[in-house]
Amino acid sequence: QVEQVKLLDRFSTSNKSLTGTLYLTATHLLFIDSSQRETWILHHHIAAVEKLPLTTSGCPLVIQCKNFRIVHFVVPRERDCHDIYNSLLQLSRTAKYEELYAFSYNPKQNESEQVKGWQLIDLAEEYKRMGVPNANWQLSDANRDYKICETYPRELYVPRTASKPIIVGSSKFRSKGRFPVLSYYHKNKEAAICRCSQPLSGFSARCLEDEHMLQAISKANPSNRYMYVMDTRPKLNAMANRAAGKGYENEDNYSNIRFQFVGIENIHVMRSSLQKLLEVSGTKGLSVNDFLSGLENSGWLRHIKAVLDAAVFLVKAIAVESASVLVHCSDGWDRTSQVCSLGALLLDSYYRTIKGFMVLIEKDWISFGHKFSDRCGQLDGDPKEISPVFTQFLECVWNLTEQFPQAFEYNEAFLLQIHEHVHSCQFGNFLGNCQKEREELKLKEKTYSLWPFLLDEKKKYQNPLYNPYFSPGLTLLEPNTVSFNFKFWRNMYHQFDRSMHPRQSVFNLIMNMSEQNKQLEEEIKELEAKIKQRNGQSDLVLVKEQQLPVRPAPTALKTPPCFKKDQPLIPVNDAVRTIEGSNTADNRYSEFVEEFSKAEPAVVSLEYGVARMTC
């Protein structure tokens, strides 16, 4: 516990700050300011802690979080600052899974609830929903004991004609044994999205079993003879891999394949791209042109567009040509997961529901071994393994929700919350790098699943404009990927910088209103029932009553004269509607006045309390 700590405004060039007390708990860093407002920061969310050079007011400490919160403390005594710094370094770097928050987090669920929570998402059920197994696709037990591929799940769906020797042979020809398996089956088109890792083809190697495997996938689709093979890497990268004995499919060796590179960059490029983006967006007193050129130089939106373009390519192959598609990158757990899951999301409206989105993440990300632990840096490890691959996926989905505001059951808050928990290590879902590892950690017994908690708070994540019958007969989304459609995701990267957001949220308002509509409907039913009941009692007032409802009662709106029940009629969430636009000091233009007010003590200074904002 350290007192008299100052929390600085990240973007203000003046020294405006909140003073309060900093507490360190086993799991959180807590700051309580003088007006008793609390800021909680989970240790696992801390990406970096930095001590800046000593200033006259104390020792500055900057904490960067994985959810893009950045806090800037000034600790009065250097000694305290040093202690906090060291403790945070230790606390934020966990060496073993068992020390993660999820293993100590206790949400007061009993055992059966815990088990039920983990059973909420059942992938076998999901494959059944897609329509497999069927005449062409079957469940393979080849990987039941993780013998063929450690990073795949136990249960895999493959073409019926792919025998075990073909599977085994193919897996030996694929990086990390990740042979082609079914990711999504499109019932109407009878076409499939399959995924795998790169072939170990080098410059000339070939593998008959692998060729058979691809042929089996082709043949499992009765409506089209050829299939696409999408290598999601840039061609140059794929060619370079050949020197290491890896590479890509040679069209001459595989019959009836159409091979395509789609050019999504690797995890290292993505990591440094995000780094650049954050540097730009975190600049104080940023000009529009510096922002735009920084955005351009970071390449971030270019990468987002590349991922979505790849998904659009995949979807066209399936929806227009009824062709099956095999997607891979290098290891088939980063870009492949992005493209397969986005493709499915565009094809199948089920994944645009809250439950469906959970299933999609469980299937294409968790079960197929996206290395959440490494990519999110859950344990202290190789920083080069960290990469915002999943964040990019969420951002692509967000872009789609912006283009199709009625197509998704969930809202932005849902995406942000999932992002939050991918890094929080509070729930077991995203711990570890693959299913095998998760089983070894006994996550299902020792930790809780995130999904039931999200479902409990479903109301918060519902899109009030959602229309399940959106564009009837057309479940397919065809996004426009012209560059100007991609926007900087302010609510993600500045989630905690409240002064930047709209001061009134249409979205919250509509959300509350549609919630209120449900209550009102209920109440009308209740009232009507009561009136009916009374009508039965006395026929006298009957005539009068029938006239009444037609008459509008504007005066009664605000204060129904003889009514004293709980008032559900209060205007929807006042805080959202009528907040003053924060204080001027929150905005960058204030500093001009402050500058010369220093020289002129006669001028009143610009300190005002922060008006409440909701974002």
Partner: protein, 550 residues
């Protein structure tokens, strides 16, 4: 001159029309004095397009064999294409359009010929008179007076006949001040902040010249707005450098020595061709869908449009802040005081004054701070983003203002009575209109053209309930507070409703908007119903009780 002389070919058949979002359609093209009319021949699904010639910004012709193609680029940024069989016909039509869309004389413009089909409820020319404005002011303060010094536009050609000035300054002094300000635009009241009695004035630059001329009356005039012991701010919309250079040409700025109670702040807001080029570049960037991400972002950046937005908003926020937070009076001027000055004063009022965020209040603001204040609409809006003739006077000054309003509207979506459509409508009418409102460069010209007698006012049309309903914001709930927008680059956005309007289909967004409106409407219905039922139930209860008592 007869229009017929300009129309070489009044009609062409088998013309194919291509326009954004619709499949090409074949039909007949007719040219009239003011319109280009296209109607498809198909009986079952007759489509018509009426395009005002004055909306045409530029045209291009192309020929493939005998098939001619005319590409028409409109001031509202739309681009349409006409395929006309027959080279001669095509050339004739093209040159007719060219002639008709670039008429020199204002009196030949459509507003002088337009006869409204709607019933006139209220004459918009008389909706926003300075007297009414002054009446409102007199109810809160008696420190100001209405001066008729400019009655015959004899003192200042770009000011309206009546202006509001400090009571303590007589017309004789005003005349002297007028001599000291460029274009005779002496300081006048722009806004009175009821909350603390602070004011915003606007003017043009003082003519100090290199030898630092001064004018006692000018000093007295602006000092008259200060409370004892208080100081004021002068916001000069030019950089210090530009302001200093202006002295060489006889202009200048208020010297500290002569205006000791005033602090000067320089904010650089661009003008004229810099803005026009910015618009041209922005529209070019938006119209090219083949740009990859890097190119799009660098083009967007190179256009500088959002930089201008940020600069204007920042200056306006600063002015508002001085008034509301510092409790100081403000004088705003640039060089002429007809462009950037008006952007700042009008936006500051939107931030400060809830009235300006209503439909009527906003109209009144446009009339007061733009039309009557002498923003030269005719010069500024003569050409839009597709103009290839470089004239010096065009600049999207008012469009930038509307864009800034839109940015604030985005940040405070419930605080405005009007919606985005309202702003887009105003943008369209400033460039091409059947109404006379935006013709002429100032009140003087408008009165010479007899616009109020000879043309219809835009406000007469807008302020009818049928039209108003299109422009109302369903989320509006009067917010009496000052609204401070964020000017961080991350908070500013490209105004898609204007700049991407013809480039990306908005079907899904429009449908979502409709859904939102229906949720709100349903909510109101339910509330009314619940109330009615509650009342009914309560009455029944009372009746019962009475019966029991009997």
């Amino acid at each position: 001159m007869e229009f017929a002389e300009l129309i070489k070919t009044p009609r062409a058949d088998n013309v194919a029309l291509h326009r954004p979002f619709y499949p090409a359609v074949e039909g007949t093209l007719c040219l009239t004095g003011h319109h280009l009319i296209f109607s498809s021949r198909r009986q079952d699904n007759a489509e018509e397009l009426w395009l005002l010639h004055s909306n045409i910004d530029s045209i291009e012709k192309r020929f493939v064999g005998s098939l001619g193609t005319i590409i028409i680029k409109c001031k509202d940024l739309r681009i349409i294409q006409l395929d006309i069989p027959g080279m001669e016909e095509c050339l004739n039509i093209a040159s007719s359009i060219e002639a008709l869309s670039t008429l020199d004389s204002v009196t030949l413009m459509y507003p002088f010929f337009y006869r409204p089909m709607f019933e006139i409820v209220e004459d918009g020319w008389r909706s926003f008179l300075p007297d009414q404005e002054f009446e409102l002011l007199s109810s809160v303060t008696d420190e100001w007076r209405l001066s008729c010094i400019n009655k015959e536009f004899s003192v200042c050609p770009s000011y309206p006949p009546v202006v509001i000035v400090p009571k303590s300054i007589d017309d004789e002094a005003l005349r002297k001040v007028a001599m000291f300000r460029q274009g005779s635009r002496f300081p006048v009241l722009s806004y009175y902040h009821k909350k603390n009695g602070m004011v915003m004035m606007r003017s043009s630059q003082p003519l100090t010249g290199t030898n630092g001329r001064r004018c006692k009356e000018d000093e007295k005039l602006i000092n008259a707005t200060l409370r004892p012991g208080k100081r004021g701010y002068i916001i000069d919309t030019r950089s210090l450098n530009v302001a200093q250079q202006a002295r060489a040409k006889g202009g200048g700025f208020e010297q500290e020595a002569h205006y000791p109670q005033w602090r000067r702040i320089h904010k650089c807001i661009e003008r004229f061709n810099i803005l026009q080029e910015s618009l041209i570049k922005l529209v070019e960037a938006c119209n090219d869908q083949s740009h990859n991400m890097d190119r799009w972002l660098s083009k967007l950046e190179a256009s500088n449009w959002l930089t201008h937005i940020k600069e204007i908003l920042t200056a306006a926020c600063l002015a508002a802040q001085c008034i509301d937070r510092e409790g100081a009076s403000v004088l705003v001027h640039g060089t002429e005081g007809t462009d950037s000055t008006l952007q700042v004063t009008s936006l500051a009022q939107i931030i400060l004054d809830p009235r300006c965020r209503t439909i009527r209040g906003f109209e009144s603001l446009v009339v007061r701070e733009w039309l009557q204040a002498g923003h030269p609409f005719q010069q500024r809006c003569a050409q839009s983003a597709y103009s290839n003739t470089k004239q010096k006077w065009e600049a999207p000054v008012f469009l930038l203002f509307l864009d800034c309003v839109w940015q604030i509207l985005r940040q405070f979506p419930c605080s405005f009575e009007f919606n985005e459509q309202f702003l887009i409508m105003l943008f369209e009418h400033t460039y091409a209109s059947q109404f006379g409102t935006f013709l002429g460069n100032n009140e003087n010209e408008r009165s010479k053209l007899k616009l109020p007698q000879k043309t219809m006012s835009l406000w007469s049309w807008v302020n009818r309930s049928e039209e108003l309903s299109k422009f109302q914001n369903p989320l509006f709930e009067a917010n009496s507070l000052v609204i401070w927008p964020s000017v961080a680059p991350q908070s500013l956005q490209l105004w898609e409703g204007v700049f991407l309007r013809w480039n990306r289909p908005s079907k899904f967004l429009d449908e979502a908007q409709e859904e939102m409106i229906s949720i709100i409407r349903y909510n109101k219905e339910l509330q009314a119903k619940v109330n009615a039922l509650r009342r009914q139930l309560a009455e029944m209860e009372t009746d019962e009780r009475m019966q029991e008592n009997l």
